[in-house]
């Protein structure tokens, strides 16, 4: 039994200690908004916050997350009103949407650490996440908007 704090709630899960956090979130806890894209730290679809830091949950053993605050897309805001989520809607960013939970989580962590990032800082940070639909221009615009409006 492993104890975790997910989106502010204490939960217990029955999983081997080296199970990737991604499967624990998605399959054990039903938080399917965190996506599986590569399982190799290459796409960022699985990005969550561990103590506020954007982290690939596919490469994080669940036991290593046990003492940290885990935040998933479902817990980023109570009602989708986080400035990054609002900016994402305003810029009409998602297409298929599959990568977008991860993009939003990374963008939110970036803005928390650096509220007014330069374009180079945005691009540098967001390079960890892939979007096959090609929403990159709108991701940049949405982050700039969130930085401006928040």
């Amino acid at each position: 039994m492993i104890r975790l704090t997910v989106n502010g709630r204490a939960v217990e899960v029955e999983a081997a200690p080296d199970t990737p956090l991604l499967w624990v979130l998605r399959d054990h806890l039903g938080l399917v908004g965190t996506r599986f894209g590569c399982g190799a730290g290459m796409c960022g679809a699985c990005t969550v916050h561990l103590d506020g830091v954007a982290t690939f949950s596919c490469l994080t053993a669940v036991e290593d997350a046990a003492h940290q605050q885990i935040t998933t897309i479902e817990g980023l805001s109570p009602d989708g009103s986080h400035p990054v989520q609002r900016a994402w809607v305003a810029e009409q960013t998602p297409q298929c949407g599959y990568c977008q939970s991860g993009q939003i989580m990374r963008a939110a962590a970036l803005l928390a650490a650096n509220p007014t990032p330069s374009r180079d800082e945005i691009v540098g940070e967001m390079s960890a996440n892939l979007c096959r639909c090609g929403t990159y221009p709108r991701i940049i615009r949405a982050i700039e908007r969130a930085a401006r409006e928040d």
């Binding site: 999983a15 081997a16 199970t19 990737p20 499967w23 998605r26 399959d27 054990h28 039903g30 938080l31 399917v32 908004g33 965190t34 996506r35 599986f36 894209g37 590569c38 399982g39 190799a40 290459m42 796409c43 679809a45 998933t72 897309i73 479902e74 989708g80 989520q85 994402w88 809607v89 009409q92 960013t93 998602p94 297409q95 298929c96 949407g97 599959y98 990568c99 977008q100 939970s101 939003i104 691009v123 540098g124 967001m126 390079s127 996440n129 892939l130 979007c131 096959r132 639909c133 090609g134 929403t135 990159y136 221009p137 709108r138 991701i139 940049i140």
Partner: protein
């Protein structure tokens, strides 16, 4: 034009509720009272065949037949219906059609099948959906007028309301559908029942996409997210080489992994079923399996295939398949003393890399003759047929749940043939619902690739430098033959999925010959975003720049001349030249131009590039696109941007290679797709010509190859001739 709708079923179903309108594939329409029993829709009371349902509380449900894979059809198609209905968009709910036993919702561009590919949804559905909306509006207007005892031409609509302006009388749509007497004898729609363009409030407007808010909250559900009571997970050990079959040497170690339930040999794989996906993967790692060794594909090698294609392109002893012939290109080319130019271009194999790895959920009934199926498919029709075939049952026993897709790009049309089959067989074997997931490595190694192509182009320039004859020869395996065998005609051997675009229909070329030299496939092949247009336009547009030089002309004038009979083509060309300030790049950079139609959609693009120490950088990209009429500009521009990025990705570095029949790449670390740091500033202008609407999903792709290659040549003097570009020699 008179649009006539033949009412084919006017039977009213008993029961309370509002009105439902169903358009039949033959153009008929029926108006129904929704019944509680008929419902398989998520909304109780909505009959399965209703396109539009209006409830007494003013809610409107509009259903759409195309599948959502990111292109925005879940907004753009219902928007067309809502426009003609004059619905209050805020009261509209949209709903995906999963199953279509009466063939009411099929895409007219695909023979009435539910099939979303090739950017055909808007084109195929536009008129049918306008008529559906207009018919519903007509019924409402006539019903309200009758209730008021007024002539129908004195009443009109505002969003969600029928009004009689003179008296100020108003009836909301919800109030009308609750009336006793509904006029169902007015199902004939005439041209003046369709709104004139000036009256459109929704088409062309900036309303947001319906699916976006949920996608920012992680609430969108793809098949990989489906959870069913009692569901277990499966991983697959797939044959290393196409066509090989497994023998299990030892499954005891796999079965000893806690949580593993079963090891199931299948035709070309072994399924490992477990309580959790991590257990299924761990079990798979411990399987010991021998594979048969007789497959022809054991010797498949991508480098050999490319060499073979190059040879075939120049080998005039084999009979090619003619795709298009105008005038006498062969005659012009063989005539004595003409100025001819010849060049070759190559494109390598590429993989779709949709972000959601392939997966499916199947729950087979206890009698083995029915199932629930959840899958993201570009064709509900094909997937349903596969499921009924696998279970040897009738389609009515398959409860098909069409899921939105985490990207598709051509990968999810016929893949269902194997992955969906295996999910069903696994569920049938273990007697529980099964979610079968491919890892990214499975997805990469079992890709259905866009085949490699080698193009040989020959041209004759007349004494004034005009293009008099063009031969575009493509050496390639056939995609149609492999991926859509039942649409492949072994007589004509015409391969739409490879050849389309080589006809260069917008260019005035008096003598043109487009032909395919068929070479046996050495990998699984399929259509890929941009289809044949991407390689074909790359080759042709590079060649045109070389010809322009040979003719002493320039890229713009040479193409303007070729577009002399295509006002729409000229318009986009001139627009992009103007937007980009073509030919005046900043110091150290160069501009390249390409014109690219994609079926009825016309586009032209300009790339601004630099090359530093062999490193190519695309700084800016401008595109002008004529979509005919644009239904939902936000989605459309997003599709064009996405297409440009997809195209750039393929030319900057995507490449699948195989040796000994095995794809060598594994994951995104060795199959690299474009990241945000390589994306240029993109500017897209839509130049509406008012022609019928045409799709935007592909058009961005074909213009990229030529535009970037032509810019590189201008900068370095060396023409890239191979995609992805290798700038070692530039």
């Amino acid at each position: 034009m008179t649009v006539t709708i033949h009412p084919s079923r006017r039977r009213f179903l008993a029961g309370a509720g509002g009105l439902a309108f169903a358009v039949l594939s033959g153009g008929g329409i029926s108006v129904l009272r929704p019944s509680a029993q008929a419902a398989t829709s998520t909304e109780p009371g909505v009959p399965v065949d209703a396109w539009v349902t209006i409830f007494p509380d003013d809610r409107v449900i509009i259903r759409y037949g195309a599948a959502e894979m990111g292109q925005g059809v879940s907004t753009s198609l219902p928007l067309i219906v809502a426009e003609e209905l004059d619905a209050d968009w805020d009261r509209v709910t949209v709903e995906q059609v999963s199953q279509d036993p009466q063939r009411l919702f099929g895409n007219p561009a695909f023979g009435g099948n539910l099939f979303s590919a090739g950017s055909t949804s808007l084109e195929g559905y536009f008129t049918a959906l306008r008529i559906a909306g207009a018919t519903a509006r007509r019924v409402l207007i006539h019903t309200a007028a009758a209730a008021w005892g007024l002539p129908v031409d004195e009443v009109s609509t505002e969003p969600g309301v029928v009004v009689h302006e003179a008296s100020g009388r108003r009836l909301r749509f919800g109030e009308i559908v609750a009336l006793e007497e509904i006029r169902t004898d007015v199902l004939q729609v005439f041209e003046d029942d369709l709104k004139p363009r000036e009256a459109w409030r929704l088409i062309g407007s900036g309303v947001g996409r319906r699916d976006i808010p949920g996608k920012t909250r992680g609430e969108a559900i793809y098949s990989i997210d489906v959870r069913v009571d009692g569901m277990v997970y499966a991983a697959q050990l797939l044959a290393p080489v196409e066509g090989e079959a497994p023998t299990v040497d030892n499954d005891a170690d796999a079965l000893s992994v806690p949580g593993v339930i079963a090891v199931v040999p299948l035709a070309n794989s072994i399924g490992v079923v477990a309580d959790t996906f991590e257990a299924a993967l761990a079990g798979r790692d411990r399987l010991r399996v021998s594979w048969s060794t007789g497959s022809d594909f054991r010797s498949a090698d991508s480098a050999d295939e490319l060499a073979q294609l190059a040879q075939a392109a120049d080998d005039f002893s084999t009979e090619p398949v003619t795709w298009e012939a105008r005038g006498d290109a062969a005659g012009a080319l063989s005539a004595e003393g003409r100025r001819t130019v010849t060049a070759h271009y190559t494109t390598e194999h590429v993989y779709h890399a949709q972000m959601e790895p392939l997966n499916a959920v199947a729950s087979v009934d206890h009698d083995g003759k029915g199932a629930d199926v959840w899958v993201g498919s570009q064709s509900q029709t094909i997937s349903l047929a596969v499921a009924s075939h696998v279970l040897d049952t009738t389609p009515d026993r398959i409860r098909f749940h069409a899921m939105q897709m985490g990207g598709a790009f051509g990968r999810r049309t016929v893949f269902a043939r194997d992955l969906l089959r295996d999910a069903l067989l696994l569920s049938k074997t273990v007697g529980r619902p099964v979610k079968l997931i491919w890892t990214r490595e499975d997805d990469v190694k079992n890709g259905w690739l866009r085949p490699a192509t080698v193009h040989r182009l020959d041209a004759v320039l007349d004494e004034t430098g005009r293009l008099e004859a063009l031969r575009h020869r493509v050496a390639s395996p056939s995609i149609m033959q492999f991926a859509f065998p039942n649409r492949w005609d072994p007589e004509s051997r015409r391969d739409l999925l490879v050849m389309e675009g080589t006809e260069s229909a917008d260019y005035a070329i008096p003598n043109l010959l487009a032909e395919q030299v068929l070479v046996d496939r050495r990998s699984r092949v399929s259509a890929w975003r941009g289809i044949g247009w991407a390689p074909n336009c790359f080759a042709r547009e590079c060649f045109l720049d070389e010809l322009a030089d040979a003719a002493g002309s320039d890229p713009v004038s040479f193409r303007r001349d070729l577009l002399r009979d295509s006002p729409r083509g000229l318009e986009v060309l001139n627009k992009v030249v103007k937007m980009s300030g073509f030919g005046n790049p900043p110091e150290g950079r160069a501009h390249g131009l390409a014109f690219a139609g994609y079926k009825a959609t016309l586009g032209a693009g300009v790339a601004e590039v630099s090359v530093t120490e062999g490193r190519l950088r695309v700084h800016r990209f401008w595109a002008a696109v004529d979509p005919g009429i644009v239904v939902h500009p936000l989605s459309y521009v997003g599709q064009v941007e996405g297409g440009i990025i997809f195209g750039l990705s393929s030319l900057l570095g995507e490449r699948s290679t195989f040796t000994d029949g095995m794809i060598e790449q594994n994951n995104f670390y060795d199959y690299e797709i474009l990241r945000i740091d390589a994306v240029p500033e993109i500017e897209v202008a839509l130049v509406e010509s008012g022609s019928p609407p045409s799709g935007g999903g592909e058009i961005g792709v074909p213009m990229t190859g030529g535009a970037v290659a032509n810019a590189v040549r201008r900068l370095t003097g060396t023409q890239p001739r191979r995609m992805p570009f290798d700038l070692g020699d530039a």
